[in-house]
Subunit: 337 residues, 2 copies
């Protein structure tokens, strides 16, 4: 009963992911073994580069969701581990390609793989991991799971292209922003959660868990986007400004600009043109996002999706897994503070 | 009986691909419909860019092999068309990523997609097509086919990374060169042919057709590599020198350098260092490849693989399809003249 007690201890929100990792320790060990084994290759650059990014501070959030979704409706088996590893490989492949696309030299304060091995290796190792993800999925023996994840993968790419086309587009409607993050981020959370439910043996709860995953993914990305401007508190020392430097139009910027004075419009116009940006612009952007209340409003938006995620769980049978998934939704928003 | 007569008319070698296209016209129409339908996306860049490359002078060689392999051992059905389209999408995705990796502005004398839409769009649309390839394969309903193609895809990426690591490595052993082209090119021919056989309903002939595909792919790539230095005849006006400008070590260079005088070694050393290459170097490289007999020796090597491909067909039931696949192996080598 220790598990139940721990899972229900939602007071200690900072460690929901730690709790999930602890609850799923045995399953996660299987997943880690698969990740290490399937990134192997006689071509050294491949295990070197993928080891660098796969082991780089990864919380294994998506595999954890897959495993917990399966547990919540039935249980995990080898195919669930293969699925969870596949989901992590797809995520890793998109990170490797994103770094090249975004021309970002750092990922979470550490040199990006492409800064160490170059763009070409990052592209090709991403392709390799993507292919290996599908080999892993074949092991689940489920064409339905393959269909869910291959569809999600094309939606992710679509979202990334859409984001690319929206770069520096200051009049981006909120709806378009949401469509972009739904595709580039929430689609994989949704697929991980739906496929997890199916792998757990439940058709019945697949839609509910898919809705959970999608809304959790939206909340997660919205919080990520406000954290890039320091979140609610703007703690000094955090890695901020990646999106700003790349001219990405995210919700805090959309709201701050909408609420800003006319003279601030000119600032946003210039500062989000990556050719015209200056070093002091980020501080002003953070200031405007704070003073217009855009940071708070963004977090409120994330909270709404986190609540939708929690609501989706209501139809599931009561279990510590359902509880910890609910706590994860809360935690996703609390990261912003 | 028209089909038989045409298929057996191996005298007219220049048009084996035309003949294959004519023989498979109905099937190819289905494949083209799938290619157009599955490259669709509400994000305009995706159909624009993929339409540009998918329709850019594509001979549909790999889909033709898939279809002919299925015909040779049984017949084609919807799943064969889905498979053939998937194979073409995988090929297209690798071309899009190759252009970025190779930093090549031109593909067969036409601006590369990345020169028109940029590197980022090429990477992401490649990812999109790769994902759509897997969605198409799910429609074949065969986990075995998914396994074959996902394995081939990771092998292709491995081959590309290996080629990247071998760039400018003048002492590349012939065996390493062959391992690279087996992975980056022959693996997809092999998979297309094996999966085609399975889709045609034959487990029995899958190994033979896989061997055909692999050896055909090796012959095809070796000929491509010598054509990049003008082939046997060095016809003026051909697009040559792509590999040379990228510092790729291919068989004609390996042989020419091995047979060359000591002073030529210094030339190869400098000229295949892309930083030190000068405009007149390509002409000298072509001259050395001709005078050392390296061009002829390379074509002889390709011929050996083409013969292996033809031998592999012997165990198949007699049919116009078997004949035309044999003619295709001959044609692959005759392209060099």
């Amino acid at each position: 009963m220790t598990i139940t007690a721990t899972a229900r201890n939602s007071g200690n929100d900072k460690t929901v992911i730690d709790r999930l990792q602890a609850l799923l320790e045995e399953d996660l060990t299987q997943v880690e073994t698969l990740l290490a084994a399937r990134a192997k290759s006689p071509v050294d650059i491949i295990p070197d580069l993928s080891g660098y990014i796969v082991s780089a501070g990864g919380k294994r959030l998506r595999p954890l969701i897959t495993l917990a979704a399966a547990k919540a409706v039935g249980g995990t088996r080898h195919s669930t581990h293969a699925l969870a590893a596949a989901v992590e490989f797809i995520h890793t492949a998109t990170l490797l390609h994103d770094d090249v696309v975004d021309e970002s030299d750092l990922r979470r304060g550490k040199p990006a793989a492409k800064s160490v091995w170059g763009n070409s290796a990052s592209i090709l190792v991403g392709d390799f991991l993507f292919a290996r993800a599908f080999t892993l999925m074949v092991e689940t023996g489920s064409l339905e799971i393959l269909n869910i994840l291959s569809n999600a993968s094309s939606v992710i790419a679509e979202g990334e292209v859409r984001q690319l086309a929206a770069q520096g587009k200051l009049d981006l409607p909120t709806e378009d922003y949401l469509a972009i993050i739904e595709a580039k981020t929430a689609a994989l959370f949704e697929a991980a959660s739906r496929a997890g439910a199916l792998s757990g043996g439940s058709e019945e709860h697949a839609d509910a868990l898919a809705a959970y995953g999608k809304n959790l993914g939206l909340a997660f990305q919205i919080v990520d986007d406000v954290l890039d401007y320091g979140g609610a508190t703007s703690v000094i020392g955090k890695v901020v400004g990646d999106d700003f430097r790349e001219g990405k139009i995210t919700l805090p910027v959309i709201i701050a600009r909408r609420r800003g004075r006319t003279e601030d419009h000119d600032f946003w116009e210039r500062a989000l043109d990556i050719e015209k940006q200056t070093d002091s612009d980020l501080a002003r952007a953070i200031h405007l996002i704070r003073t217009t209340g855009a940071a708070e409003a963004t977090i409120t938006e994330a909270e709404a999706y986190a609540n939708l995620a929690k609501s989706a769980l209501k139809s599931l049978p009561e279990s510590p897994w359902r509880d910890v998934l609910g706590d994860l939704a809360d935690f996703t928003v609390k990261r912003a503070y």
